[in-house]
Amino acid sequence: MSGIARHLFGVLVLVLSAQAVFAQEPSVTVGSKKFTESVILGEILTQLAATTGAEVEHRSELGGTRILWSALKRGEIDLYPEYTGTISKEILQAGDAATINEIRDALKAEGMIVSEPLGFNNTYILGMKKDLAEKRGIRRISDLARHPDLRFGFSNEFLDREDGWPGLRRDYALPQRDVRGMDHDLAYRGLAAGSIDIVDLYSTDAEIEYYGLLALEDDRAHFPRYDSVIVYRDDLEGRAAEVVTAISALEHAITAADMIAMNAKAKVENVPESRIASEFLGRHLGMQTDRRDVGAWERFWIHTVEHLFLVAVSLAGAILIAIPLGVIAARFSRVGQAILGTVGIIQTIPALALLVFMIPLLGIGAAPAIVALFLYSLLPIVRNTYAGLHDIPRPIVESAIALGLSPSQRLRLIELPLAARSILAGIKTSAVINVGTATLGALIGTGGYGQPILTGIRLDDVGLIMQGALPAAGLALLCQAAFEIAERRFVSKGLRIKAG
């Protein structure tokens, strides 16, 4: 990263942390992963913690384990629901499944405390349609070895993790080659549509019942236990002891059947997680909790503000940095190639990977997302600034020199105005890409239009997906229109009229 970019990076971080300070931070922050069960448990924890009078915020649907774990370590969240199997394999990277006591000790060294199990084991299992299983005579995972033609559709996390597909294939010597990675929720649709035969499931998934699936028996005990627990920072006991006491009410309090029922309520009946949580707390723990439902319009407004914030800040930063970079690239050809190469390489980093790289540096939320969007916005603007300046005919440039204009006068009065159309087109491209890419920010807790999309995919709710996708598309169109107006303002009429 160049010196200038590093400075901007610093400024962004400053602005964002200043914001956090003025926002008066809530004393306890609960996190949850981007699947429904985690969101429900996060909501239960949030409402339970709030009964103590503490100010509690729920940062829900924050991507996967790595994101939650780094957020916890950085203190951006104080607690979140996790599973023992995930802790031992993903966080501790222990070869064999650790016992809960080993896990406790290991996490203690990291400053984290693990609760007693909440009462259910949500391990991975493989599922397939009952009728197909019957036809092929499949009941156990080991039976799959005899059916190499079956098509597998696994969640990306399952494909990657050691206790997922790589270990499973080894332990059962599975021969299947058609193995695709896809979103967990989309996998069910593929299964229903018949385009895949086997999916990975969580044993408390609501869909097992809903889609009439057979959960294949793990006859070689490959999958470790995934007992649901709460992980929290050890400083929470000092800061909010009542909260720690309150959440301990959940220990051994949730059965697998409870969890499946709650999952089904959310996914099949589309009941909001906050209501599911308050009903559970009322029914099982006799607790009256507050929940705040946000109306559709208010939610839309919040998402709009969040989205615009991400786009506006990252784009403004990119414009401020990229235009000078483009000018430098056009002026000094050696440095120019280096600049164009570097911003080009940034563009090839997958958006999600870039977001995740940012987390150890900047945590979760708007800061890493803005930096990532900023980096993505650089290339089109730098390249178009460079091209716009580079394409100015030589006689024009030489006339300007011969006229006696200084280099800075030339840049301001001749070169930038002549490159204006190209530069604007670059900014427009960046803005449109930016609006789309910003939806991914929801995975690291930025909110915005990505939030309803994420929730919609999770709940298989097309309407909800549209609540994010349509405004995002609308915003992209609005950007286009705004730039057409800007072109009239910034591009001289002498360049806009056609030769006649």
Binding site: P395, A402, G404, I414, S492, K493, G494
Partner: protein, 256 residues
């Protein structure tokens, strides 16, 4: 009046890779003279003008402008005293004719009444219709563009005009008209002019002196009559004959 050299080139050389564009060239131009550079394509005419304007730094030799050696440092100040006009005019397409002409004056802080009156003078001098002043270059005819280009070059009242095929892109009718007007303007203003053309006839029409170049060297410097009647070598004779055979006899000189 005792004329002093405005432009002095001594042993100027410039190579582009293997091409010797200027080869130890010497040239003196006196104040108030119109000198015309002519020669086969690629002989170094444009390069010579670009050395004077400081667009190109020569490999060797010295170029002096009104007594000051042209260097990358000095040339910026000297440019105020030079007006440079190129074939297509080199007008800035995003500025109107007026904006093109007065750009530099405004940068130098001329008050509006001053640049407006100078603009009016120049429009009259070059006979540019007033309604053309508000138009963008793309909305002007080729002849109008050259008039605007000349106005721009004259705006700061330079001592010297450097013109690289100013009429090269115009059709013959307009070209003839502008030749006559240009020469009248040169005479009226008494500027020192260094002009490039491809056309010996035009060279004879404009030039007090004609400078015939080949391969970056001067083959002969003299009046048209001298070139025609006393060619210094076979190349000059061949060049003159090739050009003379294609055009009508020498045009009547309208000078009294």
């Amino acid at each position: 009046m005792l004329s002093s050299p405005v432009i002095e080139l001594e042993q100027i050389s410039k190579a582009f890779g293997a091409t010797q564009a200027l080869d130890r060239l010497d040239l003196h131009v006196e104040a108030g003279q119109t000198s015309v550079l002519i020669g086969p394509s690629g002989c170094g005419k444009s390069t010579l003008l670009r050395v004077l304007v400081g667009l190109i730094e020569p490999d060797g030799g010295t170029a002096t402008f009104e007594g000051t050696t042209i260097t990358p440092q000095s040339v910026h100040a000297l440019r105020r005293r030079m007006g440079y006009v190129i074939q297509e005019g080199g007008l800035f397409p995003h500025l109107t004719a007026t904006e093109n002409v007065v750009l530099m004056a405004r940068q130098l802080g001329w008050p509006e009444p001053k640049w407006r009156s100078r603009l009016g003078e120049l429009a009259e001098l070059t006979r540019l219709p007033t309604d053309a002043l508000g138009r963008y270059p793309i909305e002007l005819s080729g002849g109008q563009r050259q008039r605007v280009s000349l106005m721009r070059a004259l705006m700061l009242d330079p001592h010297v005009l450097l013109m690289d095929e100013p009429l090269g892109a115009l059709d013959p009718m307009i070209r003839f008209e502008l030749q006559v007007e240009l020469r009248a303007i040169f005479r009226r203003l008494g500027k020192t002019v260094l002009l490039v053309t491809h056309d010996l006839d035009e060279a004879g029409f404009f030039g007090d002196f004609i400078v015939l170049l080949r391969n970056g060297r001067i083959e002969q410097r003299g009046t048209l009559e001298e070139l025609v009647n006393e060619p210094r070598n076979e190349f000059v004779r061949a060049f003159v004959n090739a050009q003379r055979s294609t055009v009508a006899p020498l045009r009547e000189d309208p000078r009294p």
